[in-house]
Symmetry: C2
Subunit: 428 residues, 2 copies
């Protein structure tokens, strides 16, 4: 019976087969230790000369890293060890080139990104990608349970409604088109049909700056809800984050531990996530020695200082209108404030979700579009959503790679996606 490396513990004393790839080897006389990795993890294989045909044991020394292996043996838990090993009684290797380019020595990030198609196989990288898969599915699973419908917004769009500077331009049968930065405007069309929808797809941002936090192609989940105001939106986000992180913590406990991350740190106590008004945040920052004029958006450094003061995610609410996009609703009592919120992760991490209540009134939106000098024509269809059937509604967007970066404690976002794209790299 072929089992996964992760199932070894449940088979101590039994004879099983494993199938995978050679990760490491040490041959010492009549004993060889091989590391075997498969899709779930890594197992230690113990090969004794007396237990294997002579030619097979002799061949171990020349096996190249990444050689496909199929082995049989008995699962043993050596005294003093915590993880079972396989005492190998048969081994079959498939052909493989020698000199696998990724070795045990340190490689620079450029080299590793150039070899990303192979680097993915490193146990740490594979663990991150398993966590990514669980994170994405947990998001969708929660939203389906909450009565949402998946609604795929288009990626090829005609509009450059917020300016073209951060858009990738495309030749669409001789016409100019742009890759979508967000599915939100389309999702707003979806809620008048289905009430609760989400998009789950790639987003494109032609930002020239290369940082540890940005990708030009990233994945976003963007729920949008009819009949939900800005405050109910934040309450929903809290439930979403708790449910998703909790599921990831359970499903990928071992991967998190192997990344040096305590799965318990993905769960927060019972108290609601604090909601801080923008005005309060300015006061808090001033106390920390960071005075800033009213009306400015929070910088990455501001968020870092702020989130070090909290042990749970926090919401920052009611940003100045000028800091937010044209479609955000304003506070009727203080129209200089937007009913927009960001959710910031603790430990200095910062923004993970941006959301808000969408403006409902046609005249208000028309004025905002004119004031910001946006292309009205390309937004006529969006204005139609306010002409007919306009209701209170809210939504938010979460970047998958940002959340994954927080979950895994990654220094750089390039490890949070199978093939990262930045202004300097779009291959392999």
């Amino acid at each position: 019976m072929i089992i996964s490396t992760r199932a070894l513990e449940a088979h101590i004393g039994a004879t099983v087969a494993l199938r995978g790839w050679l990760l490491s080897k040490q041959v010492r006389g009549k004993l060889a230790f091989l590391g075997l990795r498969d899709g779930e993890g890594v197992a230690q294989l113990v090969c004794e000369a007396r237990s294997l045909p002579e030619d097979i044991f002799a061949s171990l020394g020349s096996l190249g890293l990444e050689t496909p292996l199929e082995v049989k043996g008995r699962v043993v838990l050596p005294p003093g060890k915590t993880r079972p090993e396989l005492a190998v009684s048969s081994l079959r290797a498939s052909p493989c080139d020698p000199d696998y380019p990724i070795g045990r020595k340190e490689h620079g990030p450029d080299f590793l990104m150039e070899k990303r198609h192979l680097w993915l196989r490193a146990p740490r990288q594979a663990a991150i990608l398993r966590i990514r898969s669980s994170l994405e599915f947990a998001c969708e699973d929660f939203l389906h349970q909450e009565g949402f419908y998946r609604f795929d917004s288009p990626l090829i769009t005609p509009t450059a409604c917020e300016g073209t500077s951060q858009l990738f331009e495309l030749d669409y049968f001789g016409k100019k088109a742009y890759l979508s930065q967000s599915g939100q405007l389309y999702a707003e069309a979806g809620i008048a049909a289905l009430e609760r929808v989400y998009t789950m797809g790639p987003c494109f941002r032609a930002e020239k700056s290369v940082t540890r936090r940005h990708l030009t192609e990233f994945w976003g989940v963007e729920p949008e809800m009819a009949h939900v105001d800005a405050e109910a939106n934040m309450a929903f986000q809290e439930r979403f984050i708790r449910a998703v992180l909790s599921k990831v913590a359970v499903e990928r406990e071992q991967d998190l531990v192997e990344l040096g991350r305590d799965p318990g740190s993905l769960e927060f106590g019972p108290g609601a996530f604090p909601v801080l008004l923008y005005d309060e945040v300015l006061a808090l920052l001033a106390k920390e020695g960071r005075e800033k004029p009213w009306g400015e958006d929070l910088s990455v450094e501001d968020e870092e200082v702020l989130t070090r003061l909290f042990a749970t995610p926090i919401f920052v609410y009611k940003y100045p209108v000028a800091c937010r996009a044209f479609y955000i609703e304003v506070d009727s009592a203080r129209p200089e404030l937007a009913l927009a919120s960001d959710c910031l992760m603790p430990d200095g991490f910062g923004e993970i979700i941006s959301g808000g209540q969408r403006a409902r009134d046609l005249g208000f939106l028309e004025a905002r579009i004119a004031a910001q000098g946006l292309g009205r024509e390309s937004l006529e269809w969006y204005l139609d959503l306010r002409r007919w059937g306009s209701v209170i509604h809210s939504g938010f967007g979460m970047g998958i790679e940002r959340m994954l970066r927080w979950i895994c404690g990654l220094h750089h976002i390039r490890e949070a996606i199978p093939f990262a794209r930045n202004p300097q790299r779009y291959s392999p």
Copy 2:
């Protein structure tokens, strides 16, 4: 308590609230019948003059279609009717423009596509999109249960490895890039890390022809599996199709019925889906009066004739090598045959899945690439997957819109996606 229109049946005799949009109205003296749609379906509202404030009843005549409504009343099942109605005791309408552009008269497809952001709300369109959501989630749910990891392949790619004629070209910071047609080659990198992966994302094809079956932007699910050969691949596809269709049939029974589709037609008997060899298919087609020379791919018309002969999906297996891409493995006994299969849906529908075993040997792939005159340089990373750790593996791709078109019995694929893109349309 606000309930969904779909929950009315469970509340007969109770007083409930509904929230939605005005779909239709008929005012006859002291009686008005309103159709109310929400995210789940449609309910009939019965408004009697004696049960509502005078001004409210009087206002009903001037309510525009798509007016947001919140109503309360008692759920009643009138004698002789099968669907409950709401006897309205209170009604609140939000402002709405008159003259909703989509009326009860027939509109041409161009007009409806121009107003797609509103047309989505039509009960038939919303039902299709709910089925789409269930279909997509059923695919992912099944694959996660089967131990697959989601693996997001990049959309911006450097290669035009199969020629640029069907690729959308992109300006990537001054360099040429292309939108991906398929995640498969990247998924093949994923299996050496995670064994079983799938991509679920948009695919782009710059095909100039406008047909009922093609979109320039469509969604695909592409599972890829290590240690699986072409025949196990087909067996897996059969399980996948059965599980997904069966879940959709249960979850969206009412929507299917409303589209005039028998949910039972999504379930097939216990016998395995027939596997026909390409050679056998030629003989069958000849019997139907469609002689064709050995070596030619099946046309849409061939598939139509062929699938009318079967009541279940069928596989066509072992196509001529020349009909398939460079990466497909060949039959060692008859190297003119590719270990590739298509799954065709019955009733004249045709191809829904294309799959196959991938070539494992480096030398074979190099020869295929050279013979087809493909750009070797841009495929070096892909060849690396054969240099190190190459194992038997297979995979397949299913177009979401194609499957949805079969499920819903749609004449035209443009109804199978929220915002369809074809060579003539990329707005709204």
